[in-house]
């Protein structure tokens, strides 16, 4: 096959989409778009086009990252820039089709921004908006723009050119390029990618394997899912390059079963690669033989750890083993194996498509390039972002994310998943890079940023992480299996009002033991959320233990709901919704809550809030004093 010819055809196909007389409509249909109603929007658009006898090409694309504005559609009309519309509903979809497609009025009030050459009155440039201006889209360059199920779209945007260049070079030359780029593993630990590859090459032997780790078990992180759903070929190209460099004939993608759409797109993309001759024997006449197989994860957090992941691919219980030997020496089926994260491999493809300098133009001295983050929790604009490494937490949370909703105060940002830590306000100006995060007591992790406001109790959050880690402990080593359970019990006691003054020291001692004695990263990092919250929020622990008070008014044991007699109009909303019949009162008369019966499920206050605001949550001690 002739790559130049493929590129020519692909570019022609891709360009014709935008040159056609028919408008082009892109619908964001990644998991976030779908759950927000992309399918409904699509069918409304189709109906409306038919009704108006209008033609348009409709393409399902991935996620552009503005998950908070899903469903998002983008409309391109001949000779005009594309317009992004956010929060599209059944009603606005109809209006947009009628008004813009049929009558040529672009409805600026619904638009998020324009993309491409030209300007439309009243609509900002998409990449100049608050959310996107501080971002640098490299890894996510195709996401939400191309059809993830069409390999030609990827090829038309320089796809597979990096691989074509790589196979013209000796593997050592490719390693040199990756070394120049300064790429560090995006899975969390930040080990230099070139070095891992070199170790594997140096370990000799005929058979070697590559594993792409797409397990992404960190709660709060979805960068890999988004990338695999929106631009799977960028990861697959990276796998080809890495496979060629380390001398592997086979690669496995270990992807979690909880990501059905990502799996579907991957399977589809691999089929296309095969059709185009990017997999199989003698790829592109280079003599390189290579194949990719998908292994579905089966729900075990510990399988993100390299040796546990290998055991799982071999069909065993996913328990880690001691290292050395490291997987690069003895990995899958005892052969040298490289395990790279999804984003690392996408970065490899990018470096080879552009060049190492272009990759390294952003970032800090020790952390090069850009990094994707999932920005979630109590934040105005949650979504997927990509920024240069070294961007501060404040820029990410307040400039891009728009700060905390509901006028509440920022309390902490959780970075690095259950293995990371919670950083308070005075760390907001810390740059996000591998070393600064470690110094602050958190870790970069894979890039999940969970924002917490003043209504989040830090003791309860620590308890949550401990519950997670001890449930996910594989049970092989004692410090992790029993130690984490002990810590969880202590934390549960504190949140339930049974905390003792000596508990804080006990938690610190247990943490030290678990850190020192555990076999793998899961165990060693289990105490991290507790240690950081103890360091930065010890007052909250003390308030629970000594004062029977939860400062965030989150722990059930320490709160009470009360109806404000002067505000309550007796609408009966709360009365009807209470699952335990704890609310009583006559129609149109103020109601009361029976504190003995109340289970504090929160249903009544959720219904009343914003409507009548006749209910408040107060510390239980105040209620007791009031009696």
């Amino acid at each position: 096959m002739n790559f130049d010819k493929i590129v020519k055809t692909a570019k022609k196909e891709y360009k014709s989409l935008y040159k056609s007389e028919n408008p082009l409509i892109l619908i964001g249909s990644a998991t976030c778009g779908r759950s927000a109603g992309a399918a409904l929007v699509k069918s409304v658009i189709q109906d409306e086009l038919e009704k108006n006898n209008a033609n348009a090409e409709i393409i399902e694309v991935g996620c552009i990252g503005l998950c908070y504005a899903e469903p998002i559609i983008t409309i391109f009309k001949q000779g005009k820039p594309g317009i992004f519309y956010g929060n599209v509903t059944k009603k606005t979809a109809k209006e947009i089709i009628r008004s813009y497609i049929v009558e040529d009025d672009p409805l600026p009030e619904y638009a998020l921004g324009t993309i491409g050459e030209g300007k439309i009155e009243g609509i900002p440039l998409f990449f100049d908006t608050e959310v996107l201006k501080p971002q640098v889209r490299r890894i996510l360059r195709n996401c939400g723009i191309i059809d993830p199920k069409n390999i030609n779209h990827y090829i038309a945007n320089d796809g597979y050119s990096g691989f074509m260049d790589a196979i013209e070079m000796a593997p050592e030359e490719v390693i040199e390029k990756i070394k120049e780029s300064g790429l560090r593993g995006r899975g969390g630990a930040g080990f230099p990618t070139w070095m891992k590859w070199q170790f594997c090459r140096d370990s000799g032997g005929e058979t070697r394997y590559l594993i792409c780790n797409a397990d992404e078990g960190d709660p709060g992180a979805f960068m890999n899912r988004s990338l695999l759903e929106s631009d799977p070929h960028s990861v697959l190209e990276g796998i080809l390059i890495a496979g060629y460099v380390i001398g592997a004939k086979k690669a496995y993608i270990y992807c979690r079963a909880e990501y059905p759409l990502a799996l579907d797109h991957l399977k589809h993309a691999i089929k296309q690669m095969r059709e185009y001759g990017f997999l199989g024997e003698n790829i592109c006449g280079s003599g390189f033989n290579f194949d990719i197989e998908i292994k579905e994860g089966a729900g075990a957090f510990v399988c993100g750890e390299e040796t546990a992941l290998i055991a799982s691919v071999e069909g065993k219980r996913g328990t880690p083993r001691t290292r050395p030997p490291f997987p690069t020496t003895s990995g899958l089926f005892g052969k040298p194996t490289v395990i790279n994260n999804v984003e690392t491999l996408a970065s490899v493809a990018l470096i080879m498509q552009k060049n190492p300098d272009k990759f390294a133009e952003f970032g800090t001295d020790s952390s090069k390039g850009t990094k994707t983050f999932s920005l979630v929790g109590e934040i105005e604009r949650p979504g997927l972002i990509e920024v240069p490494l070294g961007t501060t937490l404040r820029e990410v949370i307040f400039d891009i994310g728009g700060g905390i909703p509901g006028g509440k105060k920022f309390k902490a940002v959780q970075i690095g998943g259950p293995s990371g830590g919670c950083l308070p306000e005075n760390f907001l100006d810390t740059p996000i890079d591998y070393d600064s995060m470690t110094m602050a007591g958190a870790i970069m992790g894979s890039g999940g940023l969970v924002i917490m406001d003043e209504s989040t109790c830090m003791v309860e959050v620590s308890r949550y992480f401990l519950e997670f880690s001890q449930r996910e402990s594989c049970g092989k080593c004692v410090p992790c299996r029993l130690g984490a359970k002990q810590m969880l019990d202590v934390l549960t006691d504190i949140t339930e009002g049974k905390g003792k003054p000596e508990d804080v020291q006990l938690l610190k001692d247990l943490s030290e033991g678990i850190k020192m004695g555990s076999l793998c990263g899961l165990g060693q990092n289990t105490p991290n959320p507790v240690l950081t919250t103890l360091k930065y929020f010890e007052n909250e622990y003390n308030a629970h233990i000594n004062d029977d008070f939860c400062p965030a008014l989150a722990c059930k044991e320490f709160i009470a709901y009360r109806i404000l007699t002067e505000e309550c109009n007796g609408c009966r909303l709360c009365f009807k919704s209470c699952p335990v019949d704890a609310i009583s009162g006559e129609k149109k008369q103020p109601h009361v809550i029976d504190q003995e019966k109340c289970i504090k499920c929160g249903t009544c206050i959720e219904l009343c809030s914003g409507k009548y605001d006749a209910m408040e949550c107060i510390p239980k001690i105040e209620m007791d004093e009031g009696k």
Binding site: S35, A257, R317, F468, C601, E606
Partner: protein, 153 residues
């Protein structure tokens, strides 16, 4: 029942490393891992049943009892947690009259809490069969999981 199993096994070579994909295939066909099927599988892979159970029980994906027609998996990832997932789980439990891990008597719904579904930007969320429902609140539980009225005496 046998035919379905044979069809599944025919696409595998009988290697031990295929155990997890085979179990996943069985579960997606039967809805869970039935005991008699595990016995058959143990013959096919020439592997003791205990070893198969050892692997199957390790991973949270595998179930040994059938699920409801609509299997609800409430996400308890960090973003969902800080935005009220525990209250949502409790709310659904009350609404359906079952505890987490159980199935309703009419076999209509089953409820499970799972780790992160990766839909954090639209938290709190849940997966119902293969579809993600986002922005779940105590207010919309009843609408999302409609039930036939149980007649009260």
């Amino acid at each position: 029942m046998e035919d379905k199993l044979n069809e599944i096994l025919s696409s595998y070579g009988g290697e031990k490393s295929e155990l997890i994909p085979i179990l996943q295939d069985i579960q997606s066909n039967y809805g869970y891992l039935p005991e008699d099927i595990i016995i058959e599988l143990s013959n096919f892979l020439k592997m003791p049943e205990s070893e198969i159970y050892g692997v199957a029980t390790f991973y949270s994906q595998f179930r040994f009892t059938p699920v409801g027609k609509k299997h609800i998996m409430v996400c308890t990832g960090t973003a969902c947690h800080v935005q009220g997932a525990p209250q949502i789980v409790a709310g659904i439990e009350r609404h359906l009259g079952i505890k987490e891990g159980e199935v309703t008597i009419d076999l209509e719904y089953s409820l499970e809490s799972v780790g992160c579904l990766g839909c954090c930007a639209l938290a709190p969320c849940a997966m119902v069969n293969d579809e993600v429902e986002s922005h779940i609140s105590l207010k919309n539980i009843k609408r999302l999981f409609k039930r036939k009225k149980i007649k009260k005496k």
